[in-house]
């Protein structure tokens, strides 16, 4: 996690938002792409808009860039209403998903393009282009045309070009989508370093939850035109607001049941899946008898052949499937009622002794503070 996230300006109500999206609605004909959305993004944030395709995240980004105008609502940048400002007059730059490099211009001309529009003196343009080429490590490729570069190099040209004007805000539309996995991971860290070095506010659109978790100070999770949750990666993973969020970020098990009140351990759930009462530390405000869910992440479920020495939160099942991925093993455990839970554990030892195998009768256990109580 970056340093910025530890400062957490969003927890301080006296902090002024750098970008404020106020009740913005965007309609294309009858179709509502963004529905009365409000969001505050703070200076120096690395903010991710995360969601499945068609959720409106790109539309929101394009409204920040100025390519789309909100049907209703306003967008403020540094206190100034920019909703109706055309894109070429906004101090905002965007890195396009397709990179959109000018094919008839060399790398340096691409990077200089924005600076030339500002009519900067040629000496300054030259210096700034050199600085950018160095930043994205493309100095020796300055004279090449985009079609003479690899995908990763093009991506860096696009980044250099969008940063050359020192924008107040940099928008990145699926910036790493076209790169292979290894390069993508490497570039994520490069992006974070550059962001910290230049202190530019980044808003990134992605459908890759791992990417969002890695780079962001905060994530705005979107679903068909509205935000479901805006929080830090940790909060979104450990305290999702509903089952959809929990399911979208990482893997999760849901235990269904009815609320049975609380005791000294915490929330009691009469679970139909576990066929017993299970507990979670997290308090909840619900009527007795209301339907609730416990969400438990697979890595928080302990799996063993021997019955663990605990009184609560133990479920018996049978191993149905195992997937071994080297560092981890994932077990699919079938409960008596047919529901399948997923548990995973790190393979700390090389030896294959006391290993679990198919059809083994196992016990699943979790400490009460590992379960999340969800009302919807």
């Amino acid at each position: 996690m970056t340093e910025i996230s530890t400062i957490e300006p969003w927890t301080d109500s006296s902090q002024k938002a750098y970008i404020e999206i106020k009740n913005v609605t965007k309609k294309f004909g009858d179709f509502t792409a963004i529905d009365n959305l409000s969001l505050k993004i703070y200076k120096n944030e690395f903010f991710s808009l995360l969601g499945p395709s068609g959720c409106g995240k790109t539309t929101l980004l394009r409204m920040l860039a100025g390519f789309e105008k909100p049907t209703e609502g306003t967008i403020l940048l540094d206190g100034e209403d920019i909703s109706q400002v055309p894109p070429h007059l906004r101090p905002i730059n965007m890195m396009f998903q397709s990179y959109a490099l000018f094919p008839h211009m060399s790398v340096e001309k691409n990077i200089a393009f924005g600076l030339k529009q500002d009519k900067l003196p040629s000496k300054e343009i030259k210096d700034r282009v050199e600085e950018m080429l160095e930043l994205v490590q493309l100095t020796e490729f300055a004279k090449r045309k985009p079609n003479q570069l690899s995908g990763g190099q093009r991506q860096r040209v696009a980044l250099g070009r969008s940063l050359a004007k020192r924008p107040k805000l940099l928008l990145l539309d699926e910036p790493l989508g076209a790169l292979d996995k290894r390069l993508r991971e490497q570039t994520q860290f490069e992006l974070m370093n550059i962001q910290e070095k230049l202190g530019v506010t980044f808003v990134i659109v992605t459908h890759d939850q791992e990417e969002a978790m890695t780079v962001s100070s905060r994530i705005g999770l979107m679903d068909t035109g509205y935000l479901t949750q805006v929080a830090t990666p940790t909060e979104i993973y450990e305290a999702p607001v509903n089952r959809d969020v929990a399911d979208f970020i990482g893997d999760v098990n849901f235990l269904e049941g009815t609320y049975k009140g609380k005791n000294e351990i915490g929330t009691q759930l009469d679970s139909v899946d576990a066929k017993c009462v299970v507990y979670a530390t997290q308090a909840t405000a619900a009527d007795i008898g209301r339907k609730l869910w416990f969400a438990i992440r697979p890595e928080k479920l302990e799996i063993s052949k021997k019955k663990p020495d605990f009184e609560h939160n133990i479920i018996k099942g049978k191993i149905e499937d195992i997937s071994y991925t080297g560092s981890m093993s994932t077990f699919h455990v079938k409960l008596a009622n047919g529901k399948v839970l997923t548990a995973c554990r790190a393979n700390r030892e090389r030896s294959a002794e006391h290993q679990l195998t198919w059809e083994d009768e196992v016990y699943l256990h979790w400490p009460p503070n590992s379960a999340i109580v969800l009302q919807s």
Binding site: A65, P86, I92
Partner: protein, 298 residues
Amino acid sequence: MRKIKGFRNIGRTAVIGIPYLWLLVLFLLPFLIVLKISFAEPIISIPPYSDLLQWGDSFWPTIKASLDGYLFILEDSLYVNAYLSSLKIATISTLIALVVGYAIAYSIAKAPTRWRGILLMLVILPFWTSFLIRVYAWIGILKTEGLLNLLLISLGVIDKPLTIMNTDLAVYIGIVYSYLPFMILPLYANLEKMDFNLLEAAADLGCRPFKTFWTVTIPLSLPGILAGCFLVFIPAVGEFVIPDLLGGTQTLMIGKVLWIEFFNNRDWPLASAVAIILLAILVVPIMYYQKTQEKAIS
């Protein structure tokens, strides 16, 4: 194996050979005949030119070539003026067609996908009517008591009918109208492939829409512009029907001169020489066009 290979080679030669044969029989051979006639002398006979080869007593025939036709063309300013006037009319028509065609091609390329097919169809539709009939139709529109004048007078724009028919303006209208599809199609093919994200990228980097057009759109559509201009310019230089039907007596175009030499004066050698010089003038842009096309493909 070897047999199959040999057979395959024959097949390959045949496939490549057919277009070569086509060009040989229908282009090179007629060209050589015209070339031959251009060096002959006009005589009153059928056909109306002297033989290039004179069979005398010796075994070898003697060649009796004459450069009179060529010399006459260079001496008489009528021909030089006709060439220059043709080039001028073709150049101006090409530029007008480029401006109009670019606007049309651009708007088709930007139109919603479901409209594009219909719009392209509308561009190609006039080809279903004979070229000659379409040019005749323009007479009906442009003449003194034609549709255009009737419309303008009934709208109160003008009092007296405009004289467009039998002027250079009518020739320009005719050429631009007739060759516009040849401008639109290559331009559309080029613009349709263009990534419109580039225009957004330019706007994003602070470029005004008008400047973006000159710095991004135009340079990227240059291959289409060149292709379209050559496809209009080359046939327009030698155009005969349009200046003959729409132009006036003062409209001087080499195609018309050629026609007069051939059919009115029956001076085949001179007419052939006119044609050969016209070809020589056009070979330069044709070769340049070929080269740019090759470059575009590679």
